[in-house]
């Protein structure tokens, strides 16, 4: 297993709050933040629950509005993305004082983002005005940051990145695809630092749209359960800072984990329904494992796409059975979406953060909600309480030291995160962690 990308920073914004500490504390409780909408307008909708991001703490607002010349022009999704990126950047050489990289350093930094909504919430307000539904003149500034590259570009400008900057919008696979693009850029030597992430905010359009597809559960979603009825929408952002191991070593960076492989595929089956046997999903997972140079037996747990729709959970587990065989039934699986909802395009980015946190803390967070596991799904969701990684009831799980980690290092585990999209685009990312530079701590 060749490690070409280590993770040295994490940032997030979600229904649990602003910052990864809030996210982890929330995941540890095993409870859900999906609930009755307060800020988000659900008038006329078929369902009423969401996972909304709470107001930012004063400190966060002050930090950004004072330092960031364009903060007041950014969309809500942009701000989630920038806040998460700045948090993740905190451990970088430029993080502490938020100094900008020099003209020599800038080109070594790239930004790879993924999302579905960008400035859509603001555009909805513009639309209401321009059609006369709400009073007041239509304000063009509601559309300044409408386009999908908004959050990624805002992050690049804020951090001072001068290398490749690219935003992907392939529905729910976007975050996973963004991490894949970051990994490739690092491997080819194009950049030494790659900021990968995504940001989304709740919109009437996506909320109505998924309800029109009858894909939304009226109650908080319960992935893998027998009586699951659909997904729950969320919002927020997730950012991981990736570096080449050499760059991290040279500056004595604290390494949290590594991205060791990614894979992507397309179902080419149907515009909305996943392939019932999960063929495309299985292909993406296999490609990611092959890219990482590891066997399926080495995977310790999976952060699933796990939306809670009858179709997704069934086709996803079919894919897991195809890849992992008999072991699928004992392989721990969790869905972060049960806790913070489905962020759509940026879900893969937030779930990458959650996965790294699980590796770092040595436990797989539980998927919230009660109910029995669907007997038709041969998987082992982590329910009720978090599952410690060190104690394994899975006879097939290989310990990190057997997967080729360096002698003298701590036990490391392999985790897989999956993201599957409308239109059949699939992404899978393989993580290894926790890590410490050899000889440290």
């Amino acid at each position: 297993m060749n490690v070409s990308a280590v993770i040295t920073g994490l940032g997030s914004v979600c229904a649990w709050g602003w910052g990864v500490e809030a996210l982890w504390r929330g995941l540890e409780t095993g409870e859900t933040r999906i609930g009755e909408a307060r800020r988000f307008n659900v008038e006329g909708q078929r369902t009423r629950v969401v996972a909304e991001v709470p107001k930012p703490p004063r400190a966060v607002v002050d930090a950004h509005s004072r330092h960031h010349r364009e903060w007041c022009r950014l969309s809500r999704a942009d701000r989630y993305g920038v806040a998460a990126a700045v948090e993740a950047w905190g451990d970088s050489p430029w993080g502490a004082g938020l100094g900008l990289p020099t003209a020599e350093e800038g080109p070594e930094i790239g930004v790879f983002f993924g999302g579905s909504t960008a400035g859509m919430a603001e555009a909805e307000r513009f639309y209401a005005r321009v059609t006369g539904r709400t009073a007041g003149p239509p304000k063009l500034n509601l559309l300044t940051s409408f386009q999908l590259n908004g959050p990624g570009d805002a992050v690049a400008r804020r951090l001072g990145a001068m290398g490749p900057v690219e935003t992907v919008s392939s529905a729910c696979a976007s975050g996973g695809l963004a991490i894949g693009a970051a990994l490739e850029a690092l491997r080819r030597g194009e950049v030494s630092v790659a900021v990968a992430g995504g940001a989304d905010s709740l919109t009437r359009l996506t909320y109505s749209g998924f309800n029109a597809l009858r894909a939304v559960d009226a109650a908080p979603c319960r992935p893998f359960r027998a009586d699951r009825e659909g997904l729950s929408l969320g919002e927020g952002a997730g950012v991981v800072v990736l570096e080449t191991p050499e760059h991290a070593r040279r500056r004595g960076a604290r390494v949290l984990a590594a991205v060791v492989g990614t894979g992507a595929s397309c179902d080419a089956h149907h515009m909305t329904a996943p392939h019932p046997e999960g063929l495309g999903a299985a292909a993406a997972i296999r490609r990611a494992l092959a890219d990482a140079g590891i066997a399926p037996t080495a995977v310790r747990f999976i952060n699933a796409h796990g939306t809670g729709t009858p179709l997704n959970d069934a086709s996803e587990t079919a894919a897991l059975v195809a890849v992992f065989g008999d072991r699928a039934g004992a392989l721990p699986v969790t869905s972060t979406k049960g806790s913070v909802g489905h962020l759509l395009g940026s879900s893969g980015a937030l779930e990458a953060v959650a996965t790294v946190l699980c590796l770092h803390h040595g436990q797989v967070h539980a998927t919230p909600g009660g109910g029995t596991v669907d007997p038709a799904l041969p998987v082992a969701p982590v329910l009720g309480a978090a599952l410690p990684l060190a104690a394994s009831s899975d006879p097939g799980a290989a310990r990190g030291s057997e997967s080729g980690s360096e002698p003298g290092s701590e036990t490391e585990w392999i985790a897989l995160s999956t993201s599957f999209a409308f239109g059949g685009s699939n992404a899978a990312v393989v993580f290894r962690g926790p890590s410490h530079p050899a000889g440290e701590r």
Binding site: A103, R204, S208, G209, H269
Partner: protein, 416 residues
């Protein structure tokens, strides 16, 4: 360590399909480029938020031009950009001498990747959903409108149309998206992850969007790239699909190689504003120079530039200054090679620029640069005047975006 470079070998472009305001297929675009006249058609100003005295025109696609290539039953649930994309795909495969059934049958052995670019995605469907939510309530939203309103719908339809099982990635990076998609596609082949890749650019322009761009002060019905008195760009829609193949795969099936992708660079200027182009060309000029050097492409060997200049005052300024800076540093005379500015004809959006770049690499003639009359003294650039030019061997294709992104691709003349 370098920034944004990729030096590529064996990446061939073997097919082009294109749908623009000029019509469907490479010949319609070629004719328009020779004519050198902006593809400006009247826009329905009653359907947007148009201002008096504002823009009346855009380079819009005539739906009839799609007709023999897409049946009504197939088109019924596709958004307009998906229709453009699938038609462009079919033309591209035809152009490459490859049929969809053969492509589909080979997926197990060689899954085809799709890299698409769009700025705004399926906008008419998005607007209709907003209208439904507002006028009839959220419960009246049409499910199939929603599924076809996402930015990746056209890329998904392309995959469905030919069974493409490889990665399916839609890049949304405004003016720079098309070259980034080409870059990703080329890297996928050069780095051994794919043998065949489809690169697509798709855009749809609605009257509402048109009126918004106009209100932002960006549009001109008669664009004048690089001209001293330029005032804006021509908004456009359409689709372009390119088939990329690894050289040995292309040769094995006797494909005609239209052009090679020799290098693909990407960079960003964080000093740019959220809503405009950078003022100082230094960082991007440095990125271009460094990228070409790392790719082993000597500036002096580039004998044609396909510029992304569109008539936008600040955008053309940045394009021009970056090119001046790079050529000024790299060559004794600082003389620029002939510069084509096809957006004067095809407008901004929908793949016309990328398709025109390929046609330039294939040696097609270009007419005079639309609207150009007076040189801008700050840029000292006189784009192509329509005279005959020797065939280009090595072309630099350039695109810069509002907000800071930049991309350049070096194409080399093929063999076809």
């Amino acid at each position: 360590m370098s920034a944004g470079f990729a030096s590529l070998e064996g990446v061939a472009i073997t097919g082009l399909g294109v749908v623009t305001a000029a019509g469907c297929g490479r010949d319609t675009l070629a004719a328009a480029l020779v004519a050198g006249v902006p593809l400006a058609r009247p826009v329905d100003r009653s359907a947007g938020w148009h201002r008096p005295g504002g823009s009346h025109c855009a380079a819009t696609v005539d739906p009839k031009s799609l007709q023999p290539w897409l049946s009504p039953m197939a088109a019924r649930r596709m958004s307009p950009p998906s229709r453009f994309a699938v038609v462009a795909l079919r033309r591209a495969l035809e152009d490459a001498g490859l049929d969809a059934a053969t492509l589909r049958a080979g997926q197990a052995a060689r899954p085809t990747a799709v890299f698409a670019a769009t700025a705004c995605g399926p906008s008419s469907y998005t607007e209709r959903i907003l209208e439904q939510i507002q006028e009839e309530g959220p419960e009246a939203v049409s499910p199939s409108l929603f599924t076809e309103s996402v930015a990746n719908a056209p890329a998904a339809q392309i995959a469905l149309a030919c069974g493409a099982l490889g990665p399916n990635v839609t890049i949304t990076q405004r003016e720079v998206g098309p070259l980034l998609a080409l870059r990703r596609g080329a890297l996928e082949i050069a780095e051994g992850r794919a043998e065949q890749v489809l690169v697509a650019v798709v855009e749809e322009l609605t009257p509402m969007e048109h009126s918004v761009f106009d209100r932002f002060g960006c549009l001109a019905d008669a664009p004048r790239p690089f001209d001293r008195h330029r005032r804006g760009y021509l908004a456009a829609e359409g689709a372009a699909v390119l088939l990329l193949e690894r050289e040995d795969v292309a040769r094995a099936r006797g494909a005609s190689i239209k052009a090679w992708v020799r290098a693909a660079l990407a960079a960003f200027d964080p000093a740019a504003s959220l809503s405009d182009y950078s003022r100082d060309p230094t960082p991007l000029a440095a990125a271009l120079a460094r990228g070409l050097e790392r790719a082993g492409v000597e500036v002096a060997t580039v004998d044609r530039i396909v510029s992304g200049a569109s008539g936008m005052p600040t955008g053309d300024r940045l394009e021009g200054l970056v090119l001046r800076r790079v050529w000024g540093s790299a060559t004794p005379s600082g003389t620029l090679p002939p510069i084509l500015a096809p957006k004067g004809v095809v407008g901004e959006g929908g793949g016309g620029h990328l398709a025109a770049a390929l046609l330039a690499a294939e040696g097609y003639p270009f007419g005079p640069t639309a609207g150009f009359a007076t040189m801008d003294p700050e840029l000292m650039i006189t784009p192509h005047d329509g005279g005959s030019l020797p065939p280009a061997r090595r072309l630099l294709v350039s695109a810069l975006a509002v907000g800071g992104a930049a991309a350049w691709v070096v194409l080399e003349k093929g063999e076809g």
